[in-house]
Structures are given as C-alpha cells and as structure tokens.
Subunit: 107 residues, 2 copies
DNA sequence: CAACTATATGAATCCATATTCATATATTAC
DNA sequence: GTAATATATGAATATGGATTCATATAGTTG
C-alpha cells in the first residue's frame, strides 16, 4: 500500500475515501449538524424541531431524509407524528465528531 | 443545557457546531480527503500530488490553501518546491475520520 | 541577465445542493 | 363524510463552492 493508493480507483482505500466523503458531506452541513446535535439528547419529532430550529418544516423534512438516507438516523411514526432518533451508526459518528476540540492549536 | 442549546446562537454549543461545520465542510470534500489521505503517509510537495492525483496543479493549490486555512496542514518552502504536511490538528482529525468503518450496519 | 520550473492566485464559469413553494399524503377528531 | 394537524415530496430557484483559465510570483540554472 503506497502513499497514493487512495487515488487508484481500483483500490479499496479509494472506495473507502469515496464512501467517507459521501457520508461526511451529508453529516457536516451546519443545519443537519444541529439536528444531529439535538438528536444526541434523544428522539424528536419534526414539529419539535420546527419549534426550536430556525428552518421551515419542509426544509427540516428534507434534511432528515438526507440523514436517514446515509443511515445515521431512523424514524418511527406514532399517530400524526414521526419521531426521529440516531441509529447506532449515527451515535458512533456523532460521538466521534462532537469530541473534536474546537480550540485552535499552535503550529 | 437543554436539548436545543445548539440552536441558540448565544450558546457556546452553537458556536462549537458552527466551527465544526466550517472545518468539516473543508475536510470532507472528496478531493481534499484524498490529499489528506496521502499526507497521512508523510509530507509531499505540490508536484508530487499533481503526478498522482487526477487534478490540475492549480486546483491542487486551491485545495491545499483551503486545508491550510482551517489549520489541518502547514507548508514549508524548500527551493522551488513547497512541501505540505499535516499539523497536529490535522493528524488528530484524520486519525478520527479514517477510523470510521465503511461497512453498513443494520438498524 | 534570460529561460525555466514550481507554485499561487484572482476572476470567470460551471455545477451541486440548500432553500422555497405549492401540494400531496396520512392520521386524528368531530 | 369534513376539517384540522403533521409530515413528505417534487419542481423551481437561489446560492455556495468546485473547477478552469490566464497570469503572477518566486526560486533555480546557465
């Protein structure tokens, strides 16, 4: 495995990078990151998000769909409401991401 | 700290989410992720990247600048060449990201 | 000095995706 | 059944960011 194997489209490493990019692209957008941040405290339905996050109901639904598509959240319908929560994958990734320190380092 | 503190623009948590988003936006793009992946094996100059990555010299420079701006890489000029390498922050973050498993989980 | 190599950079263009809007679907209550 | 509520969705638009292009800068060589 040389330094550039992640650039050979045939390499497993290249595919890993592509998959990681696809996941991070969805997860790292600020609005969706906020939704994930809220979900770390437990399940929430769309109307609860809509009350607290400064986004339209429609936009929230779109974002939740994207997050669901990459497998970091699931939903469960109960009555009129749809409750969203983190999957194991979602818990794993948000634990990872939210442990990144936000202070600047020298160097 | 309630469930929605990351949505109050005044909260520290909200700022943390914004900073994290800014960093991840840069780091998670596939081309830049490839550059980081290469840099994990040690320092490289722009012309080395250009030989192996399917991107123009100009584009590589732009990407490296973005990565440098968020503090994950530094550069050092030696002769005509500019050598890039990961900062401590860069090592920390790539170690985190590249440990994410790429298999799908059930649920 | 001129010619050459390696890199950086600003502006223009192109493209992906966030956002909006109108509307559809599903569930509940009456 | 109708009305009301919660959510989803597709298409249109707006916007941000990736890519290209032309060119500038800096260091090297002879």
């Amino acid at each position: 495995m040389d330094s550039y194997s992640c650039c050979l489209s045939t390499s497993g490493e290249s595919k890993q990078v592509a998959k990681m990019a696809a996941l991070l692209k969805i997860v790292s957008e600020e609005s969706r990151l906020k939704l994930l941040c809220i979900l770390r405290r437990g399940e929430h339905c769309v109307c609860e998000f809509a009350e607290h996050v400064d986004l339209s109901q429609s936009l929230i639904s779109h974002h939740l769909k994207d997050l669901k598509d990459v497998g970091v959240i699931t939903d469960e319908k109960r009555g009129l409401r749809v409750y969203y929560s983190l999957t194991n994958k979602g818990k794993y990734i948000t634990n990872l991401l939210f442990q990144i320190p936000n202070k600047e380092e020298k160097q």
